[in-house]
């Protein structure tokens, strides 16, 4: 009984810590997007929110999800990794083309 309580408490603490970490990276990404001087550094800030922000949030939620659902959460994160890295490269190329005009 007691060990079960400790496990539940540990799960709560784990979720609070990791999800807070994730929220912090979202904050960092947004601040970077607003404050950084040029497009490529802003892109760098953005990818932190994509990778680590969503990653930590997803990680923190995993203990609350049963088998299939946990798998889906991981899938969501992996999909975002795939697409955001591709989109980032396309955006960087666009920024490169845009710069002479700016």
């Amino acid at each position: 009984m007691k060990s079960a309580m400790i496990l539940l408490l540990a799960r709560d603490i784990f979720t609070i810590v990791t999800v807070t970490f994730g929220a912090f990276f979202f904050l960092a990404g947004t601040v970077g997007l607003i404050r950084f001087p040029d497009t490529l550094t802003r892109l760098h800030a953005l990818t932190k929110a994509d990778n680590l922000g969503l990653g930590f949030v997803a990680l923190g939620l995993l203990p609350w999800a049963g088998g299939m659902v946990a798998l889906k959460i991981v899938c969501v994160w992996i999909l975002v990794q795939f697409s955001s890295s591709t989109a980032s490269q396309l955006i960087a190329r666009l920024a490169q083309q845009e710069r002479p005009r700016a």
Binding site: D12, T15, I16, V19, T20, G22, A23, F26, L27, G29, T30, V31, L33, I34, T39, R42, L43, L46, A49, D50, G53, L54, V57, A58, L61, W64, A65, G66, V69, K72, I73, C75, V76, L79, V80, F82, S83, S84, T86, A87, S88, L90, I91, A92, R93, L94, A95, Q97, E98, R101, A102
Partner: protein, 88 residues
């Protein structure tokens, strides 16, 4: 725990407003696309948080759909903008 998850969702959505301001200020196409992408990721994170907070696993399917389609949308942005007749 539910309240904590909702609070984080509210926080991420609050950051969304900041991101939107960035879209507003954004002078270049690339900046606007970056903001749009951040919005997509924040939306997905908010959905995951809400799904856990209200214990409704079907919401994760929405996040899954959004992950695929937001990717498609941002790629559509990036690839179609070079094909435009006028660049404002």
């Amino acid at each position: 725990m539910d309240n904590f998850l909702f609070a984080v969702a509210a926080f991420v959505l609050g950051l969304l407003i900041l991101g939107l301001v960035c879209v507003l200020k954004g002078s270049t196409l690339a900046d606007r696309m970056m903001s749009a992408q951040l919005l997509g990721t924040s939306g997905i994170a908010a959905l995951l948080l809400m799904a856990t907070a209200v214990s409704e696993p079907a919401i994760i399917d929405v996040a899954l759909a959004l992950a695929l389609l937001a990717a498609f949308a941002s790629i559509a942005f990036a690839t179609s903008s070079g094909d435009r007749q006028d660049q404002e």
